[in-house]
Symmetry: C2
């Protein structure tokens, strides 16, 4: 079988993974090849029992199209979702269904020289547990916090390696392709491919958690910037509050908006004697941060004034940040995602308020505010999508740079 038809097959598999069900005509358009060629390749894929005919879609005025989909068990992804304290690993099939229950374990990233080795051990372990043959695994996708350079496969904040890249290390040990990406980028990718930003051209996915991350979707793809650092929403300078941020500067967006700050403010309010159900619900201990944040969100949902006030204030400030995003990038939708998205509707009013005050109306009306449809699954799904996005990607040969005017000048063009 020729390399080319092999590459087309991979492209078709990728398309079917992302769209689930497609007709031959749709596939032909998506891979930008003629119908007859697409038909031929499809038939081969069917013969190999990779693709299956899934019945007819309703007619749109003519003959009904035969729909095609992937056999779910032909290929799997290893999806890893990390935060500073916990890591989750899942094996997913071509319908993003888990082969095993998600493996969740504590893994502290800060100042932990063993983290990468432990992570890799766990990945190996999970693969083994699943019983899935390695030849059927398309790759390992990992979302992690920090300054991640996906191209180099490095993380400048955590998981330091000596000389080697993170992806290189994992690939070598597991014998599988490995890809990394910043966690917020991964969430953005998930919402783009399978969530609230599905099929959108330009979308901003706000990842509300201990910081406020941002997955930037531009022209239908995750945008990473020159070094993979795009989306540092948390640290745009927005306030004159003098509050020192974890990044060393002051006045960053996250000093007024993260779930962490909200919990802090709740504690202060209780101390100051605010009337609120939170008084009896919050533990206030460092290790219960996660639970406390959820409690505040839950209480706001139940109508607790103080909780609502806390979220509203943060929401308004996030809204100020979103106003900047809208001015700069004119997205069709802004999606609230991450842990904080649980509070869904509660954010919307104050954010809208901020947009009304800080956005040029013509811009604001063109941008929808949506809420994540994926929730806690987002990062795992995004990691799977990251792997499949690379599946069958044609690697362009690296070319030496084009001759510059200068080299031409210096050396002269001769007849």
């Amino acid at each position: 079988m020729s390399a080319k038809s092999q590459s087309y097959k991979k492209k078709i598999i990728r398309q079917l993974y992302f769209s689930n069900l497609l007709s031959c005509a749709e596939l032909s358009h998506k891979i930008d090849k003629s119908l007859s060629l697409t038909t031929k390749i499809l038939n081969e894929l069917i013969a190999e029992t990779i693709v299956i005919e899934t019945g007819y879609a309703p007619s749109s005025g003519g003959r009904r199209p035969l729909m095609y989909s992937l056999k779910p068990d032909i290929l799997y992804t290893v999806s890893v979702a990390m935060d500073q304290f916990f890591t989750r690993i899942a094996i997913m099939d071509m319908q993003n269904k888990h082969v095993l229950p998600v493996e969740k374990f504590e893994l502290r990233l800060a100042d932990n020289p063993m983290a990468l080795a432990v992570l890799t051990d766990k990945i190996e372990y999970v693969i083994e547990q699943s019983g899935v043959d390695k030849s059927k695994i398309a790759g390992i996708g990992i979302g992690m916090p920090g300054f991640v350079d996906p191209q180099q496969g490095l993380n400048y904040s955590f998981l330091q390696t000596k000389g080697e890249s993170i992806t290189g290390y994992i690939a070598k040990r597991t014998n599988l392709a490995a890809y990394i990406e910043n966690d917020s980028g991964i969430v953005g990718l998930a919402e783009l491919k399978f969530g609230a930003a599905r099929n959108r051209r330009n979308a901003m996915v706000i990842n509300i958690g201990w910081g406020v991350g941002l997955g930037i979707i531009l022209e239908g793809a995750l945008f990473r910037g020159d070094n993979g650092f795009a989306g540092e929403f948390s640290h745009i300078p927005l306030f004159d509050n003098g509050k020192l941020c974890s990044c060393g500067k002051s006045g960053c967006l996250e000093t007024e908006t993260s779930l962490f700050v909200i919990v802090e403010k709740a504690k202060e309010g209780i101390q100051a004697g605010r009337v609120t159900v939170l008084k009896n619900l919050l533990s206030g201990r460092e290790e219960d941060l996660e639970k406390d944040a959820e409690t505040i969100i839950f209480s706001a949902g139940k109508g607790d004034r103080f909780a609502i006030e806390l979220l509203s204030e943060a929401g308004y400030n996030i809204g100020r940040g979103i106003a900047i995003l809208i001015h700069l990038l004119n997205p069709g939708i802004v999606v609230l995602s991450g842990r904080g998205a649980l509070a869904g509707k509660i954010w919307q009013a104050p954010i809208q308020q901020a947009l009304n005050e800080h956005c040029i109306p013509r811009l604001a009306v063109n941008t929808e505010i949506g809420i994540s449809t994926l929730g806690y699954e987002a990062e795992l799904i995004g990691s799977a999508a990251l792997v499949m996005e690379k599946f069958g990607e044609t690697i362009k040969k690296v070319r030496k740079p084009e001759r510059t005017i200068n080299t031409m000048m210096n050396s002269g063009i001769s007849k």
Copy 2:
């Protein structure tokens, strides 16, 4: 001649326009076709005296490549650069050289129902004057202020039309393809293709003028957003100064940074008795705004303390805005362009200062601050580039949207 080889020819012409001098191997790579095919097409183009062999480039260790370039007079563009008060029109050849001196005339855009008709008259007139045959004109590119939707061909701020699009009107009257774009976008395109951001992947081009515009270059292309409104840098909410902006909101970036504000502040300073050479140089009259701004920049260059102070303050504030851009988009370069770029080096110190204070170091070090190499020509060159960017573009057939999960659910898939 087949439609396909026709389209390849146009692609090659486009590549040669943007790169000026290319070898067959480079062209083959750029149009993503095999060498033999590229050779064949090139030979046809040479036979048609469209492309010429320009001699040999220096060897890079093997046989020297034959370089190819365009015959400058095979094709022309009509380049239009508009601001709120004046419009410039030029006819340019394939080396961006003017066929005629630039035609500059007053054309007030605000509340002027005749503006579009007058503009079109002028365009027709300039074409006629140039003596260039219309069949040799690739199209008309126009950069204009306001909320421009390039796809629809509309401007929501100026040049209102009844029902018809601006591009449609001009195309119909001139019988030429017409394209419009926001002025700052055009300047960004110019710097990307021929200026300080040449061959950069991600660049922010700041257009310092009466407002502060932004041309956003992402992944090697001008980014326009969902509706073409991306880059509204002028109106991001950045200050708590309570100053009302022309857009109706308060605290916008431009309320502290535009050349307009700088001239205003200069007047105030003189009134307050500041010691400065500006006292004798500034006219202060509305109609001399342009001259006054230049005087301030010039005086700062000569060392006038007050002038430097004015620019530094504005520069610092622009720097705060740039810090946000860097956090969000991680560009490789930020280019200072537009009228204000005259002050070039004077901006750099305060901007760098702002970046040091407001940027995470890891981000700041990855972003270069550059100064426009095109100056006042930028907008005209950008308009030409806009036309040539579209030249020979393959128009994808509009497909009906993919079946959604919902339509599938409702109607059911049948065997």
